[in-house]
């Protein structure tokens, strides 16, 4: 049971990441490969505020979101001038930079040794120490993020994002300064990723830079592409699928000497088959 709760918590955290990344990739059509950087900045900001000042988790998370948003504003100001492949490559570059800073700014981040002893959240005397209560908290935050994403996508702003995805130059002609739209959605998406970062840091109670690499960004992209771009349900389904699948393959009964390798092969094969037969993802409408 503990194991299932652990999986469910991870699925919630990655669902938040998927939902927030979807705002940029699915809704606005900007292939961002830097989401793990904001996940990491959110996690580090929250972890440092918790361990250094001992403030309340929720306050630390909010401050972490603001810090992440501010950094995203700087990165986004450069990125929003790009589109297409250049956007993808530029964003990848920023992920590498953020990862290197997390790894090498020893005095702040403790480098590769990471930050241990991060406290679990508590609110009005109630501590989310047990995994069951932490799962409840994760689900509540997931629901909040879902709600925010829904408000954004259903607003006039969301419709403009779709138009940017379809033909950025054409929507410019109708009076939209698309750079601002791309910047704002990038910052909002980063701030929501910081929520996932804060949850992750206080759930595992230890973070190090290896959780926030480019590989992690690509994993998040796989979640939303598999689940279906521009679909909230798709983001959650994709997260569940990609977190549960490798766990489920543990029970597939491969001979012990090749079990690990067979799991990897099966996992890879399922991804390829899905792309062959359902390129728009499990629940997606939109094709890249």
């Amino acid at each position: 049971m503990e194991y299932l709760i652990h999986i469910a918590i991870l699925v919630s955290i990655y669902s938040i990441l998927g939902l927030s990344l979807n705002l940029v990739v699915g809704e606005a059509g900007l292939l961002s490969v830097t989401h793990a950087a904001f996940y990491g900045i959110g996690a580090y900001a929250t972890a440092l505020l918790l361990t250094e000042s001992g403030m309340n988790f929720f306050l630390a998370m909010l401050i972490g979101m603001v810090i992440t948003g501010a950094i995203a504003l700087l990165i986004g100001a450069v990125l929003s001038r790009f589109d297409g492949d250049f956007y993808a490559l530029g964003s990848l570059g920023f992920n590498v930079i953020v990862f290197s800073i997390l790894l090498n700014w020893q005095s702040l981040t403790n480098g590769p040794l990471g930050i241990p002893g991060i406290a679990r959240p508590s609110l009005f005397g109630f501590s989310f120490e047990s995994n069951t209560s932490f799962l409840t908290l994760s689900l509540v935050l997931l629901a909040l993020v879902w709600g925010i994403c829904t408000l954004i996508t259903r607003s006039s702003f969301g419709r403009v994002l779709h138009a940017i995805r379809e033909d950025e130059q054409a929507i410019q002609v109708f009076g939209y300064t698309t750079t601002y739209y791309k910047l704002v959605i990038f910052v909002l998406s980063a701030m929501l990723a910081a929520v996932a970062g804060a949850l992750f840091a206080s759930y595992i109670t230890f973070i190090d830079p290896s959780s926030f690499t480019v590989n992690e960004s690509i994993f998040m992209l796989s979640i939303i592409i598999l689940g279906g771009l521009a679909s909230h349900r798709g983001a959650v389904l994709g997260a569940a699928f990609l977190i549960i699948l490798p766990e489920a393959l543990r029970f597939a009964g491969f001979p012990t000497d090749v079990a690990a390798q067979m799991r990897q092969v099966t996992y890879g094969a399922i991804l390829i088959l899905l792309m062959l037969y359902r390129p728009q993802g499990l629940l997606g409408e939109y094709r890249l």
């Binding site: 954004i152 259903r154 607003s155 006039s156 702003f157 419709r159 403009v160 779709h162 138009a163 995805r165 379809e166 033909d167 130059q169 054409a170 929507i171 410019q172 002609v173 109708f174 009076g175 939209y176 300064t177 698309t178 601002y180 739209y181 704002v184 409408e285 939109y286 094709r287």
Partner: protein, 244 residues
């Protein structure tokens, strides 16, 4: 009154002057035809005037009082300019209705974030879609429409802008006769309401019946201008079309 005017406008592609010191004037309440053989620079002229291509020289004058030496695509709407595209550029994976609503709603980023389209926007979109006969399809994706319907939707989108100067780049191509009448009526109505309507068209009968004035372009320069009847009889215009 001139709503848009160019003075010695130049657009170069490498060493080729696709628009070569062109002077044109688009007057309020007039339908101006832009004609000329393929590759004569009609679409390049429109693309330069709407900021899709940066201009390489000359001046663009808006409403006789704003002189521009560069045009950004994002600012043309504020000058009251709008357009359709020769190669129909719709928002394919959006519904027909959303293709219109997106040009009707709030332009400001924060305003847009806290706005959902209102009844006013919906009613306006419904009126315009009914006018072009696409209301029945308002929930379908723009990408699933036929070529003719796509052209109509693009025209509807331009009309929704309530602009002062409209550029229509071959709006009649590929439309069946009934729909041509609808589009003609729309162009007439815009003109009657005091807009400057610019029409790129190859069908000379349409130009004769619709245009008040026309410019003939060849190799990036204006080779003739005036009332369509007179201009189309000129020897150099006939030569440009038939190739001497």
């Amino acid at each position: 009154m001139s709503l848009l005017e160019t003075k010695k406008l130049v657009k170069k592609f490498g060493g080729v002057r696709a628009v070569d010191h062109v002077d044109v004037r688009f007057e309020a309440g007039m339908l101006t035809g832009l004609i000329g053989p393929n590759g004569s620079g009609k679409t390049t002229l429109i693309n330069t005037l709407t900021g899709l291509l940066p201009m390489d020289g000359g001046t663009v004058v808006v409403s006789d009082n704003v002189a521009l030496h560069a045009v950004r695509p994002t600012s043309i709407a504020t000058y009251g300019l709008t357009r359709t595209f020769q190669s129909v550029r719709l928002f394919e994976q959006m519904s027909v209705l959303d293709n219109l609503l997106v040009v009707l709603t709030e332009r400001n980023v924060w305003g847009a974030l806290f706005e959902r389209h209102g009844k006013y926007h919906l009613d306006t979109a419904e009126d315009i879609l009914k006018k072009v006969g696409l209301w029945e399809k308002h929930h379908e994706l723009a990408g699933t429409l036929s070529y003719g319907q796509r052209k109509l939707l693009e025209i509807a989108r331009a009309v929704s802008m309530r602009a002062r100067v409209y550029f229509f780049d071959e709006p009649f191509a590929g439309l069946f006769p009934e729909m041509r009448k609808v589009v003609s009526a729309i162009l007439h109505e815009l003109r009657e309401n005091g807009a400057a309507v610019v029409l790129v068209e190859h069908d000379m009968d349409l130009i004769r019946s619709l245009a008040d004035y026309c410019y003939v372009l060849d190799s990036g320069t204006v080779i003739a201008e005036g009332a369509p009847e007179a201009v189309l009889k000129q020897a150099n215009v006939i030569d440009a079309y038939l190739g001497k």
